[in-house]
């Protein structure tokens, strides 16, 4: 298959696997998982110094690993409940991580951690005006997605399922609708992916990439799982490019026997 790059905010990427850095059993495992994933974008966060209590060197490991494989940081606004809060945190992230990229998260429900579409659009519009490259974590609602594009987001990151749930693509219809109604828009499935097959499914549906964290970090062997996801993402993308056959509700013989019985004639 030919070279198949894609772009985020004018930056060309080859890997379609964005990886989160939270919850790994050790900094070394995180480092090895990043390497095994082949990722070119890793997500990071911000935390109050009071609550953080040090990070045991994880962030420096991330920075080292990124330098080694030329990957980029994507800071998030995790934990924000309002547009105002998210905008302030994004500015802080830009200063601390020295990048205009921001994964915009504004939670509207504590149980599902579902994004708040109204606050999300307000925050996105403001951050775009402030010069950010806004990658919004959103639901699969088509109209909300259109509003985010109108606000100036260069791409969308709809959920597959609630964050950390590992349930996969819970609403394939909505995701297929997004893909069909927003042709040419870069779409990344973010959150809810629990297994490599879920990632492959997203790519097979025409999504441009996936972003996940828990499925790798919580695996029995995170490094091996990172490798498995890398392969699944590649397989899914190649399947999309190759053209997945249309499904149908009836059988079609794959062996070309002309529809006639081979030996004994029609059953009486």
């Amino acid at each position: 298959m030919s070279h198949d790059p894609w772009q985020v905010g004018g930056i060309t990427l080859d890997s379609r696997f964005l990886l989160g850095t939270a919850g790994y059993p050790s900094p070394q495992v995180l480092r090895d998982a990043i390497a095994a994933s082949g990722t070119q974008v890793v997500t990071v966060g911000l935390k109050r110094t009071l609550a953080a209590g040090g990070d045991n060197g994880f962030v420096s490991i991330v920075r080292d690993a990124l330098r080694q494989q030329g990957a980029r940081l994507l800071p998030n606004t995790a934990g924000c409940r309002s547009a105002r809060e998210a905008v302030q945190l994004a500015h802080m992230a830009r200063e601390l991580y020295d990048t205009p990229w921001i994964k915009l998260e504004v939670v509207g429900d504590e149980h599902t951690l579902q994004p708040d579409p109204f606050e999300l659009v307000i925050a996105a519009a403001q951050l775009v005006r402030d010069g950010f490259v806004v990658l919004p974590y959103c639901t699969d609602d088509l109209v909300t997605c259109r509003r985010l594009l109108d606000a100036g987001c260069p791409l969308l990151m709809p959920w597959g399922a609630p964050i950390g749930s590992g349930q996969g693509l819970l609403n394939p219809f909505a995701l297929r609708t997004l893909r069909a109604r927003l042709p040419g828009v870069t779409l990344i499935v973010d959150a809810g992916i629990g297994a490599p097959s879920h990632a492959a499914q997203a790519l097979e549906m025409g999504f441009d990439a996936v972003l996940l964290n828990s499925a790798v970090a919580q695996a029995g062997d995170p490094v091996a799982m990172a490798r498995a996801f890398r392969l699944a993402v590649q397989a899914g993308r190649q399947a999309w490019r190759a053209g997945v056959m249309a499904s149908q509700d009836f059988a079609v013989p794959s062996t070309p026997v002309g529809g006639e019985p081979v030996l004994l004639g029609a059953a009486s």
């Binding site: 989160g20 911000l46 953080a52 990070d55 105002r84």
Partner: protein, 73 residues
Amino acid sequence: MASGLRMMEIRLDDRPHGVDDGITLADLIAQLGHLPEQVGTAVNGVFVPRARRVAHVLQPGDAVLLFQPIVGG
């Protein structure tokens, strides 16, 4: 004016914290032992860029929040 001898109370990461009257945000960061580039700062919920900390004089009751990089999803 002996402003350096007078104290006032601010809130630092949601806890009461005594500081010299007239202290700047940059001085507070230094007193806490942080390198300027290691933390992000907000006062009363508004981001204060690193370059403006020197000129940002804290007022009694100000709520100062400090943020640091952390892993994330």
